[in-house]
């Protein structure tokens, strides 16, 4: 019987394998190009300044206020979506290691989580430039974000565990999820303002049911000088508790089937 918490603890104590594996995943992608790791920054620049600037002018908003909004939303969304998308295929990718006796499965979830965090760190300078020109920027809000971001990451981790297990059983999930996230990006208020969907309306309710909205909002709102709504706090707290319970139970029940599925 494998326990998620015990495995995670062991994974954090022995980080060599998953840290090295995720680092290699990142560097080999950029090895062939002259610009190397600079390419890591390119998507962030395109999304935040390109798409953000375009949508700002489309909605007749000043670009200085909008790019900061897009920047924080984009990086949080990106961490979450890349962990979910990649975790669905992480066990299948590592089949050789698992079948060779490396059965601490939490390592493979941390491998994709670490990779997403690396990307997050690399895009921080771009994000920093965007929020620096935002007039609403609150320094005290940055401190709050330092607390809420780990909470968001805690949720990302359990989501990664659950999707990794489901993805090992249903191997077509990874393709499906990729498509879903195109839609989720548009559905989550990242390139549009959440204010235009008032609570009570149908679209507003849909937006508030979306967990991605609350994960983004918990970090973005304080930075931009807005209070985190009570709904977001309750939503995240519930999600953390329920999610971790599901992840722990699912891992205990299904981890032993993973070598058979892949």
């Amino acid at each position: 019987m494998r326990s998620l918490l015990r495995d995670l603890k062991a994974s954090f104590r022995n980080p060599e394998f998953w840290a090295l594996a995720s680092w290699l995943d990142i560097v080999v992608r950029y090895r062939q190009s002259r610009l190397g790791l600079l390419w890591l920054v390119a998507p962030a620049v395109i999304y935040i300044w390109g798409v953000g600037g375009f949508f700002a002018s489309m909605q007749h908003r000043p670009i200085s206020g909008f790019v900061g909004y897009v920047a924080v939303g984009y990086v949080i969304f990106r961490v979450t979506s890349s962990v979910i998308i990649e975790s669905t295929s992480t066990f299948a990718t590592a089949a050789a290691f698992i079948l060779d006796g490396h059965v601490r499965l939490s390592d493979f979830v941390l491998r994709v989580t670490a990779k997403a965090l690396f990307y997050f760190l690399f895009s921080l300078p771009v994000v920093g430039a965007a929020i620096a020109i935002t007039p609403e920027l609150q320094m005290s809000g940055l401190a709050v974000a330092l607390v809420t971001f780990p909470l968001v990451m805690a949720n990302v981790l359990w989501i990664g565990v659950v999707f990794a297990l489901v993805g090992a059983r249903f191997q077509d999930l990874s393709q499906f999820i990729g498509n879903i996230f195109m839609f989720a990006f548009l559905l989550t208020p990242i390139v549009w303002h959440s204010e235009i969907m008032p609570a009570g309306s149908i679209r507003g309710t849909i937006m508030r049911a979306n967990p991605l909205f609350h994960m983004v909002e918990a970090v973005r709102a304080p930075i931009l000088g807005q209070p985190i709504s009570e709904l977001t706090l309750y939503y995240l707290a519930t999600m953390t508790l329920v999610g971790w319970t599901i992840a722990i139970l699912a891992y205990r029940r299904f981890a032993r089937f993973v070598p058979i599925w892949i």
């Binding site: 019987m1 022995n14 060599e16 394998f17 090295l20 594996a21 290699l24 995943d25 560097v27 080999v28 992608r29 090895r31 050789a96 290691f97 698992i98 079948l99 060779d100 006796g101 490396h102 059965v103 032993r256 089937f257 070598p259 058979i260």
Partner: protein, 377 residues
């Protein structure tokens, strides 16, 4: 700490997903069937109520037909598959040599991949660093250390995998078949390394179809058939049981589905009389049938035996636990224009097989033969 394996009443049932059996009448129905039929979940019992113990000094051969559960059992011992019921206890550090050329990152360099595989084996960076150069040297890849792994050939990858997997001594070695292909130079090195590792380890479990190898390495044997343990004992009794089992299936016309069985044997003595070359030796096959093909290969040309006389070889039968007492042979070859044995040259091989056409397995040559045909004699 003493190494120890204890397997008690272990069963493994796994869900597998099968497509519905459907007679495809034409291409259309076959494509539709493949696209639309949902897979059905079937529970399959891979191992059933297996109990055995391995203590220090045991070298256990795992025998059985294809699909009997040999690899599955090794994976259970390795902790990859958790048994559905029963208890597996493995005491001592354990290294599985199951698929050594997998588990690499193709775009990373050879050196980085050694680190990756090493950390996957739970080794710390500091102790690993000292092993990088010996591993590269053993695999013969020193000048390739900073090349991308995908630029290596399949053989080089296999060599690298072997070098990494065997560079540490463990208490228990689990092995599925002997090391794959490689050039003869590397094979000799790999064999020496393997023997060294096996000698240094406390328990070896080896699944193989190569009876000669198992006889050389192992002192005990277990036989699996359809996931059940049908025999456990010393190596000779296990081999005997296995041969009998294979013979039973052969009479039931079952073995033909498994392709050509492995043959093995030895050429003991050679002499030339009246233009005929007579070769004495023995030949047996892994499935217990009596192989009838002996071919002499001289510089690439095949000379099938013109007559093959079976003779009893009680010594060989005892050693390998064979079923067939008549495993010895005296083969006669017609070699026109052969003045003396030394005219054969050095490129001489004796090949064995089920019949002359299938004969392709080189037999071991006794020193007496190499001596007789070597030009210096």
């Amino acid at each position: 700490m003493s190494a120890h394996i204890s397997v008690e009443n272990v069963s493994l049932t796994v869900p597998i997903y099968v497509q519905r059996e459907r007679r495809a009448r034409n291409w259309g129905t076959m494509f539709f069937g493949a696209a639309l039929d949902p897979p059905r979940r079937v529970n399959t019992q891979l191992l059933e109520d297996i109990t055995f113990q391995a203590r220090e000094g045991d070298r256990i051969a795992i025998l059985g037909r294809n699909g009997a559960g040999k690899s599955t059992l090794l994976r259970v011992l390795n902790g990859v598959y958790q048994p559905t019921c029963g208890v597996v206890e493995v005491q001592g550090s354990c290294q599985a040599l199951l698929n050594m050329s997998l588990g690499f990152n193709g775009e990373a360099t050879v050196r980085e991949n050694i680190f990756l595989r090493g950390t996957a084996m739970q080794l710390k960076g500091s102790s690993l660093r000292a092993h990088i150069d010996p591993i590269l040297e053993f695999a013969g890849l020193q000048e390739k250390a900073s090349h991308r792994l995908r630029t290596l050939s399949a053989g080089q990858k296999m060599r690298l995998g072997f070098a990494i997997s065997t560079s540490f001594q463990h208490d228990i070695i689990l092995m599925d078949e002997w090391v794959g292909a490689g050039d003869s130079d590397f094979m000799a090195k790999a064999k020496a390394r393997m023997q060294d590792r096996m000698g240094g380890s406390k328990i070896v479990m080896l699944a193989s179809h190569s009876v000669g190898l198992l006889r050389d390495v192992c002192n005990k044997g277990i036989v699996l058939e359809q996931g059940r343990l049908v025999h456990a004992g010393d190596i000779v009794s296990a081999l005997q049981f296995y041969h009998e089992l294979m013979a039973r299936f052969r009479t039931g016309n079952d073995a033909s589905a498994e392709g050509a069985p492995l043959v093995y044997g030895c050429a003991d003595h050679v002499m030339l009389e009246k233009g005929l070359l007579r070769l004495r030796g023995w030949l047996a096959s892994a499935d217990g049938s009596i192989p009838q093909g002996v071919v002499l290969e001289v510089a690439g040309a095949r000379y099938p035996a013109i007559s093959l006389e079976r003779v009893p070889r009680p010594d060989v039968v005892r050693h390998f636990g064979l079923r067939d007492a008549q495993c010895g042979f005296i083969a006669t070859f017609q070699m026109p224009g052969l003045g003396s044995l030394t005219d054969l040259g050095v490129a001489v091989r004796v090949l064995g097989g089920i019949d002359h056409v299938a004969a392709a397995t080189p037999l071991r040559m006794a020193p007496a033969i190499s001596q007789a045909i070597s030009p210096g004699s």
